[in-house]
């Protein structure tokens, strides 16, 4: 009885010890990969930041009005730093995936290839959304200024509608890129986009009769020489 009890204890201890001996190096390898990934990420993000500073990305973005748009969204950091951070986190995520792979956890074995395959599409989708967002703000601002300068009412509504239309289009493209319910996204996007365009057309044609009237009046004023200075006099 006592011998059997001792045997069981020793066997259990040996099993646990042997399993721990198997996991230990994998854990150590995972921690090493994570640490190395972090270090490489830090170095490469700094390098990317310096490279972008050298090619004057911040200045170029400022000249294109990107800084203003970022500022309006509450992002005060320069684009070179933002890209540097993006590089950092992409490398950290890759390191994390490698660490999980090294652990050989049965549930996570298939995770890394799937995520790595998905990552480029996600990156493209993020870039599409950023460009769409910048474009939406630029177009909305240009339309708002144009409508106000044409002395038409409803500029904010029109600019807002156009902004959402561009954002909607960008979101549609981004979601299609990452392959989330592609058919459904296309259908929903088609319905929303078509609906928005139809809505705008109806709003302008029916609800916006006054706007259309003002637009025509403004055009006629210009055609009749009223677009000059006060009383038709030159401005300069």
């Amino acid at each position: 009885m006592q011998d059997a009890w001792t045997e069981i204890l020793i066997t259990s201890f040996r099993d646990v010890a042997s399993r721990l001996a198997g996991i230990g190096p994998r854990l150590l390898a995972a921690l090493t990969l994570l640490g190395a990934g972090w270090a490489v990420a830090a170095v490469l993000s700094r390098l990317a930041g310096r490279l972008l500073l050298a090619v004057d990305l911040d200045g170029r973005c400022a000249r294109l009005g990107v800084m203003g748009t970022l500022g309006r969204a509450g992002i005060r950091r320069p684009p070179s730093e933002l890209v540097g951070r993006l590089v950092f986190w992409i490398i950290v995520v890759i390191g994390l995936l490698m660490a999980i792979e090294a652990l050989e956890v049965p549930a996570a074995v298939e995770l890394a290839p799937v995520v790595i395959k998905f990552l480029p599409n996600l990156l493209v989708a993020v870039i599409v959304m950023i460009i769409g967002w910048l474009l939406a703000n630029f177009v909305a601002e240009a339309v708002l200024i144009f409508i106000v300068n044409a002395q038409l009412a409803g500029g904010r509504v029109m600019a807002g509608a156009l902004r959402w239309l561009v954002l909607l289009f960008a979101a549609g493209v981004a979601l299609t890129q990452i392959g989330i319910a592609r058919e459904m996204v296309l259908l929903v996007f088609g319905i929303l986009f078509g609906g928005a365009v139809l809505g705008l057309a109806l709003a302008f044609g029916l609800g916006g009769r006054k706007l259309a009237e003002e637009a025509l009046e403004s055009w006629l004023r210009k055609r009749d020489g009223g677009a000059g200075g006060p009383g038709g006099a030159p401005h300069v």
Binding site: G68, V148, G155, A233
Partner: protein, 417 residues
């Protein structure tokens, strides 16, 4: 035989054109006409210019040079035909530009050709001008030839409602920045002495001024900033050609205020030291203040300002600080009969826009177009004041605007990074 082929001329004029200029021989006075889509009128203008030179500048050897700025209506052919016509009097030359052909480059080509011909002075004339008189040639060039001025700008007799962008923005801002009181910053014509032509060509004049207004503003500013002797000459009434397609106001602001703001950046070291202003020497009589033929629609301008206050605030908030906006809000409550836009506040608005332009807080085109309702508000207030003023009262009003900009100049310099 002068060498009509300095490096800049080689870059801007075709080889055949440079050879033709060489054949013209040394010339003392050049009249340069740059034209854009003026086929029906340009030959008449050239005849007037030629008659002016022939009558008033002889026996000095003179030449009339013409340059097309990229016309689509056959102006270039008209210029070529005019230059080829046999006639006694000043020499004629038609400049063929190396592409891209733009009005700004046409002006540079005229200056480069004048330098190549060894001219002592050049009269530049925009073919958009109507009512040009032969007497304008001596009025513009004589102060230069007599050694009394390096740059002669025109001054016109005008009504209060004419040239409101000049009277309310371009002239007072230039006065505050460069310390000289000029009536016109972009007057359609001017005269330059040879040393100033040389300086302009060396100053990278071509860059960033593809339009006629931008180029004129650049010439005036370079003259002022370089310390050249600037004068103005009275040319009488400035007529406006009603057949010209009128640009929309926002585009006019982009093409005039844009170059002024760009030059503010370039000459920061010059204007930061400017204190006060002085009048420039004037040739001829003092320009008269004329009566407005038509009553300007102040109501429409006030309505445009109110609409801007209602809808453009999200844009203006990126340009102007809260302190300026707080001073603008009460104006929205004023009706057309009591509307006022004090010069000091207007000068602050322009200063804020100049800083925002410099810091690129918005795409520059958006920024300049967003100024339109504010400008119309200011013009409404100005015309309200002018309608109740005598001619001398109007002069005092203009001086008050200039002083407001002068007072703002230090504030602008302090905020400039």
């Amino acid at each position: 035989m002068p060498a009509a082929g300095p490096p800049d001329a080689a870059a801007i004029l075709s080889r055949e054109c440079r050879a033709a200029l060489d054949a013209l021989g040394p010339v003392e006075v050049v009249a340069g006409v740059h034209a854009l889509n003026r086929a029906p009128h340009v030959t008449q203008l050239l005849d007037t210019v030629e008659a002016g030179l022939d009558k008033h500048v002889s026996p000095r050897r003179a030449a009339v040079l013409a340059a097309d700025g990229g016309s689509q209506d056959g102006t270039a052919d008209a210029l070529r035909a005019w230059c080829l016509a046999e006639r006694r009097g000043p020499a004629r030359g038609c400049l063929d530009l190396v592409p891209p052909i733009q009005q700004g480059r046409a002006v540079v080509a005229l200056l480069a050709a004048a330098r190549g011909l060894g001219a002592r002075g050049i009269v530049l004339l925009d073919a958009d001008m109507v009512g040009v008189h032969a007497d304008w040639m001596p009025a513009l060039i004589e102060p230069v030839l007599a050694g009394g001025a390096d740059y002669v700008s025109p001054a016109y007799s005008r009504a209060a409602s004419e040239g409101t962008l000049t009277t309310n923005l371009l002239a007072p801002l230039t006065r505050a920045l460069y310390g000289k009181r000029l009536q016109q910053i972009t007057g359609g014509c001017s005269a330059l002495a040879a040393p100033l032509v040389e300086h302009c060509l060396e100053s990278g004049l071509e860059a960033g001024a593809p339009h006629g207004h931008g180029m004129e503003i650049a010439l005036t500013t370079i003259a002022l900033a370089s310390g050249a002797r600037v004068a103005e000459t009275h040319l009488g009434r400035r007529r406006v050609d009603g057949s010209l397609p009128e640009l929309d106001l926002a585009t006019i602001l982009v093409r005039t205020v844009g170059p002024v703001f760009e030059l503010v950046e370039r000459y920061r070291d010059v204007w930061a030291e400017t204190r006060g202003s002085t009048a420039v020497p004037r040739f001829g009589e003092a320009p008269a203040v004329l009566t407005d033929a038509r009553r300007p629609s102040i109501e429409r301008m006030v309505r445009a300002f109110d609409l801007g206050m209602k809808d453009l605030l999200p844009v203006w908030e990126q340009v102007m600080p809260d302190a300026t906006l707080a001073r603008l809000y009460p104006l929205e409550l004023l009706g057309p009969d009591e509307f006022a836009f004090p010069p000091a506040l207007w000068a602050r608005v322009i200063s804020d826009f100049a800083v925002a332009h410099h810091e690129r807080r918005l795409p520059r085109d958006h920024l300049l177009r967003a100024l339109t309702p504010l400008y119309l508000g200011r013009v409404a207030a100005f015309l309200r004041d002018a309608s109740a003023s005598s001619p001398s009262g109007l002069a005092a009003t203009l001086d008050q605007i200039g002083r407001a900009f002068e007072a703002e100049q230090e504030h602008l310099a302090a905020r400039w990074r």
